[in-house]
């Protein structure tokens, strides 16, 4: 079937246009570069921005991994992986370490990424100031003039309402001491991983027609107050029920109608890798004992 499509679906001129936007985004870390987002054969909100970025940077020898909520086997990940298998014919994988291009929705893999890898994020709303200042003309000016007081107004409101900074995802960061950026809907748990990451990070927002980037080894600081410093979610005394991992980002899974629940790694590849290496969690242990 792939013979019916141009490589990776988009035509070459479009890919060039997107590459130019990507280069500009890398040159100005954290700055939102407008680009002529195309109609894609999937609805907005399903990752059209990330898909266009991936299509523009994909080469025939790349190995692609797709993540949706940390997992390789949820609808969005399966559908988009299939899309590129069909239109580009590239090799795909679920293993983080084997991938050269990783497109993600929400999560950054638990495993530390390397210099030869590129992480592509699907972004719904690229403008961190949007919910406080609805005018695009004004937010652009605020970025240009570095007027970021408003960003702290949001954090102030959190503390005033909840007693702590209650923003748990899309937590605003300052890139290279200049632009304030929205790290897509990733949980703030993953924010520290963005700081000085070896891999290139690209962000694509299809509906909003913006691309932005964090070059490798760039300083990324999460905004906070001196007396309410940034911190990440913690699950004290919790280990993955399948692989026994601690200190990772957990999914809570309801197992029955009687309040039964378990926690397991949100990063499915990380969990599988650990189990393959012989780590076991409580559930695995009980199941094996029952057998």
């Amino acid at each position: 079937m792939s013979g019916h499509y141009n490589f990776a679906y988009l035509d070459e001129q479009t890919k060039r246009m997107i590459r130019r936007a990507i280069l500009k985004a890398i040159a100005i870390p954290g700055y939102q570069v407008p680009f002529a987002s195309r109609e894609m054969p999937m609805p907005y909100g399903w990752g059209t921005g990330g898909v266009q970025v991936t299509a523009a940077i994909l080469g025939a020898n790349d190995v692609l991994k797709m993540i949706d909520q940390g997992s390789d086997d949820t609808t969005n990940a399966v559908a988009l992986r299939g899309f590129f298998e069909k239109t580009a014919g590239v090799a795909t994988t679920t293993r983080t370490e084997d991938a050269t291009v990783i497109q993600t929705r929400h999560r950054i893999p638990e495993m530390t990424l390397q210099e030869h890898q590129v992480l592509v994020y699907q972004v719904p709303i690229p403008e961190p100031l949007r919910f406080l200042e609805p005018r695009e003309t004004e937010t652009r000016k605020m970025h240009a003039m570095e007027e970021y007081g408003l960003m702290h107004v949001k954090l102030y409101e959190d503390i005033a309402t909840h007693g702590h900074i209650a923003t748990t995802y899309a937590y605003p960061v300052k890139v290279m001491g200049r632009y304030v950026m929205d790290p897509s809907p990733t949980p703030k748990f993953d924010n520290p991983k963005m700081d000085r990451m070896a891999a290139l990070q690209l962000y694509g927002a299809g509906r909003e027609k913006r691309i932005y980037a964090i070059p490798p080894f760039t300083d990324v600081v999460s905004l906070d107050f001196e007396d309410h410093p940034f911190d990440v979610q913690e699950w004290p005394d919790t280990a993955c029920a399948l692989c026994g991992a601690e200190g990772v980002y957990f999914d809570e899974v309801i197992t029955d109608d009687h309040g039964g629940r378990m926690f397991c790694c949100s990063d499915s590849d990380y969990c599988e890798m650990r189990r393959a290496a012989g780590h076991i969690g409580d559930q695995t242990r009980f199941t094996e004992a029952a057998e």
């Binding site: 406080l132 003039m145 970021y148 107004v153 102030y156 409101e157 005033a160």
Partner: protein
């Protein structure tokens, strides 16, 4: 009062095509002085206020401001970044409709604290206590610090707007009909408050109003505008007690006597 003016306006004109907004207005404003611009609707007073507060570029003329280091600086020659910085630190702007000057969707405390955060304060406790302090000064119960302005009455909103503007200790505040739409008893308290703040903080204010009573209570000097021209100016008491221009006489005699 100082010898050097805080704001020096020379020959400011604004034309909307062939229409005159305001024509050839010149005046100096000194530190601690309150100047009222009065006139009926359409006389060009709001246009003039917008021209001198950098919200609307004039067709001709210059507006110079004494920066904190004492140097006079032409507002329309400086960069936009510097101008905006001035707007949110050294100046205040009180809108007639508080909804224009407040963020209605965030709490009162955040509204007051926004300017502090904009100039780099990053300590939540300090920002909050300063916001509480200012709410007290403008007579809003501190217990309402986490309520949104949309839950406030018109008078409270206007006082909150004033607090939000004054928190960075500006030297110059522009007010556009600050008492418009408020009932008289609320007006009186607001005017009292502003008078107190002017005396305490040594503020300079340029206030635009069609209400001559507001001008008399607040201002030291006043300018009367008609059809875009300043037709009379002088000390407030002098202009109101002994108006020379026929139009001013008409305005003064039009005040409702109760």
């Amino acid at each position: 009062m100082d010898d050097q003016p805080l704001l020096s306006v020379t020959g400011v004109s604004k034309f909307y095509g062939g229409q005159i907004g305001c024509n050839d207005v010149s005046f100096d404003l000194y530190p601690g002085e309150v100047l009222a611009i009065v006139g009926e609707s359409g006389s060009g007073k709001t246009t003039l206020l917008n021209c001198i507060s950098t919200r609307l570029e004039p067709t001709a003329g210059t507006v110079e401001y004494a920066m904190r280091d004492g140097r006079m600086s032409d507002l329309y020659q400086m960069g936009e970044a510097e101008r905006r910085f001035l707007m949110r630190t050294d100046w205040g702007f009180v809108h007639q409709n508080p909804a224009d000057g407040l963020r209605m969707g965030v709490s009162a405390g955040a509204n007051v604290g926004e300017r502090l955060m904009a100039i780099g304060q990053r300590h939540y406790g300090n920002i909050r206590s300063e916001a509480a302090d200012w709410m007290e000064r403008v007579e809003i119960a501190v217990g309402r610090i986490d309520d949104r302005p949309s839950q406030f009455s018109g008078g409270m909103r206007q006082r909150l707007q004033i607090a939000r503007n004054l928190v960075t200790a500006p030297r110059l505040v522009f007010m556009d009909e600050p008492t418009g739409g408020l009932d008289v008893s609320v007006q009186a308290r607001l005017l009292d408050l502003v008078r107190g703040l002017v005396a305490d903080l040594g503020l300079s204010i340029i206030v635009v109003t069609h209400d001559l009573a507001v001008a008399r209570l607040l201002s030291h000097r006043m300018m009367v505008m008609k059809s875009g021209h300043v037709i009379e100016s002088g000390l407030t008491d002098q202009v109101l007690d002994d108006p020379r221009e026929p139009y001013t006489q008409l305005l003064v005699s039009s005040i409702l006597q109760v």
